[in-house]
Amino acid sequence: MVSGMLIGIIIVVVIALYLIIGYNRLVGLRNRINEAFANIDVYLLNRFDALTKQAEVVVSYAEHERETLMQVTRLRASVSDHQTQAEKTEIYSSMEAQLSRIHMVGESYPDLKANQNYLQLQRTITDIEDKLSASRRTYNANVTSYNTLIASIPTNLYAGLFGFTPRTLLEIEENKKADVDMKSLLRGS
């Protein structure tokens, strides 16, 4: 009888340990996902700031674009932490569309390509783009691991009880999946 009780206790302890390890793993993954998401936000903002600085250099050559730049600055001021990610993404897209226009104008000024400030900012932007890509990949990788874990047996038996629900992967916007028409872009249409 004593040995039966002992076996029972051992089984309970093993199950409890398994649950604790599984729970901690889910918490760890969830935190990594949140961290990756926060990093995306940071890099989006960094990218925008770098693009704006570069646009300022362009505007110093093409004064007529100053009004566009001021519009972008006003949009930037409208971004706040209280907005949802979707709202922020929409504002960023709008700002970047305006900035792209300014950079296209910069193509008409060959002297700009020799401007050290402009070149350094270009390298900074490339760097940030790569880090943004890395943070998105980190996010998606952790979401995949997390979703796989909460759907797997036996984690799926208790994940829902503790509030662990599937997260969505970051997806590419539809307009960015389309092929780029280089001819139209270069003609400025």
């Binding site: 390298r123 943070s135 990788a141």
Partner: protein
């Protein structure tokens, strides 16, 4: 682009005749010693055979002379081998490396691009990189190395050398007798280059022992994933990349997942896979302090030549191929493309 063998071979071909003359001179000098040793040995044998009437003292004296001659000959032989090897390294390998680096060209070079290379045949890469690369996670009791190259190609600083890392194990049996065993953990080349991006943390990319998509590897694939070990506590997080082919070829350990993915872009992973296909031995890499470290395992003794072997144009081509392998790592991994914010 590295120059072709045709463009650089004249540098070393010019010295081939001189090297062969040196080799023949050494061989002739040795013949005299072989003759003296043979004569002494023959005399001793004859005296013993005829039961020399003069007694054993002359025989003992002759044996002593024979040992002295053999000892002196061994010392001289060793020095001659060293002299020949040094002549080969200083007059063939060194000028070859200089010529390759001098003719190295990149499109759109600026004043920041530089090409130079230093060669120290008897030196090895510093301990800083042996321990600081986090590629050798085992006890190291003895480090041997040679053929140290350092310099710059384009915008990338580099250094590399041959390396042998040995652990000395001592075991004691029940009777108290100690046995010493020298275990060679690593034999190959450690190559370190300034990476094209600035990054933080440590990322280690270890080659998998068995490819889980081929042969025996298929059987042990699940175990491989369970039992892969980190090479350092500082890079303790194991991550899976998006490329299945890459995950089948390498394990990735890192101290910072975002930085690891920043380094290992899709393009870069393709470069790594392509290099692994080309190189016959095991390849491990790490990314530390904005530098890239590559450990190439091999049994080959690079940039060396035996006195018993004539240096032919085929051997020169082999030296060129070896130098191109290492200098070519900078091109293989596109380290001279500097479009990020690291200068």
């Amino acid at each position: 682009m590295l120059p072709t063998y045709q463009e650089v071979k004249s540098t070393a071909l010019a010295y081939l005749d001189e090297l062969e003359t040196l080799r023949q001179t050494i061989k002739e000098a040795r013949k005299k010693y072989y003759y003296i040793i043979a004569m002494l040995a023959l005399t001793i044998v004859l005296l013993i055979a005829i039961n020399s009437p003069t007694g054993t003292i002359p025989i003992l004296v002759l044996i002593a002379i024979l040992f002295i001659v053999i000892f002196v000959f061994s010392m001289k032989r060793s020095k001659q081998n060293e002299a020949y090897r040094a002549a080969f390294k200083n007059n063939v390998v060194y000028p070859f490396s200089q010529k390759i680096v001098e003719l190295y060209e990149l499109p759109h070079e600026t004043e920041r691009h530089q090409n130079y290379c230093r060669y120290k045949p008897d030196y090895r890469i510093s301990d800083r990189w042996i321990y600081g690369s986090y590629l050798f996670d085992f006890p190291i009791d003895r480090i041997d190395g040679e053929d140290y190259f350092s310099g710059r190609l384009g915008l990338t600083d580099f250094e590399f050398s041959e390396l042998e890392l040995v652990e000395i194990r001592r075991t004691r049996d029940m009777k108290g007798n100690t046995t010493t065993h020298h275990h060679v953990h690593f034999n190959g080349v450690l190559f370190v280059a300034d990476f094209k991006k600035h990054f933080e943390g440590i990322t280690v990319v270890q080659a998998r022992a068995l490819d889980p998509t081929k042969g025996v590897g298929k059987l042990f694939a699940p175990l491989g994933k369970l039992f892969s070990s980190t090479t350092t506590r500082k890079a303790s997080q194991r991550i899976m990349m998006e490329s299945e082919a890459f995950n089948n070829a390498f394990h990735v350990w890192t101290s910072n997942e975002l930085q690891a993915r920043y380094i290992l872009s899709s393009n870069f992973m393709e470069h790594m896979l392509s290099f692994k296909e080309k190189y016959a031995g095991k390849v491990n890499m790490s990314f530390v302090d904005s530098n890239m470290c590559i450990a190439l395992t091999t049994t080959k003794n690079y940039f060396d030549v035996s006195i018993h072997r004539k240096v032919t144009p085929a051997i020169l081509e082999e030296v060129y191929d070896d130098l191109s392998l290492f200098f070519g790592l900078i091109e293989q991994f596109d380290l001279n493309t500097r479009i990020w914010s690291k200068d």
